[in-house]
Symmetry: C2
Subunit: 148 residues, 2 copies
DNA sequence: GTGTCAAATTATAATGATTTTAATTTATTT
DNA sequence: AAATAAATTAAAATCATTATAATTTGACAC
């Protein structure tokens, strides 16, 4: 964990940003909830537990900054809220999501499923792909078995 | 065009909704701007030109209804606004988008690029796919050539 | 160490998209 | 035509997010 904080610190420094206590607290919350797809409000409340003086606006600004630096991915599942996911180490791309329409659970897929599709897009539409976002909506394993 | 309105009318009736004048006006705007990825506000302004008495809330309600009936797809490119695209006739799936990070243009891809990927997801993660959304972010043909 | 400057943060207010409410209108059924 | 339900309007409310102004922090010069 300290290791990853160090890396993020370096990423910030490389663009002449600082890892302030508030930013560090925010990053720590993200690291501790890597699977959780937290909203800005969620992050705010969790950070507040350890650092009660932090403001919501600061959390928003920090998440925005981390998003620009590609430390986190800002995602949107269609409810009105943005969610923030830590990008996995070494991942060049956004990871994919399986959203269950029954129970609302969200599962992540790390594998890059789109290498081939991306090549098609690049050649067929002459579009230079930088990133992609892919979400499947459907019924998760759990909810399938409940229908028996 | 009248043809497609008729179809949508039937879809509404099949769920015991009516195609009111306001709803029809809204659908017509969507048909006339099929490539445009209009926001609710955009639709509202366009509908207002022909039917000045319509309210914004009605447009929202209509778009929400059409979205539930899968007549339109509600999409979200990460700016704070929802956009509404008519689903192509016979399309079972959401279509894909190429969003240019330089000029903001959005191009649609009708082809189903994900048949194979979907099968992988279904078998490997035991997730029953109902729909998907795929967006590529990158640089469009136009913006590429401007960089010469 | 003290003063100065820029960056960051706080608390609050403002914004903008969307939703809700209550009152009114329209369409449908009896 | 009266009664009922569905849809619409206009206005207010809500919620996420962003901007503002004042304050604090930290780095560097003296």
């Amino acid at each position: 964990m300290e290791n990853r904080i160090e890396k993020i610190k370096k990423q910030l420094h490389s663009q002449s940003y600082k890892l302030t206590p508030q930013r560090e607290a925010t990053v720590r919350v993200l690291l501790e909830h890597e699977e959780d797809h937290l909203s800005a409000e969620d992050v705010y409340l969790l950070v507040k537990e350890k650092s009660p003086e932090i403001g919501l606006a600061t959390v928003y600004r920090t998440l925005e900054l981390l998003s620009e630096l590609k430390v986190v991915d800002k995602i949107n599942f269609g409810d009105g809220v943005s969610r923030y996911d830590l990008r996995k180490e070494g991942a060049e791309h956004f990871h994919h999501h399986l959203v269950c329409v029954e129970c609302g659970s969200v599962k992540e897929i790390e594998e890059d499923l789109l290498g081939h599709v991306e090549k098609t897009v690049e050649s067929q539409w002459e579009f230079q792909v930088k990133d992609h976002r892919l979400t499947f909506h459907g019924i998760c394993k759990n909810c399938q078995s409940e229908h028996d």
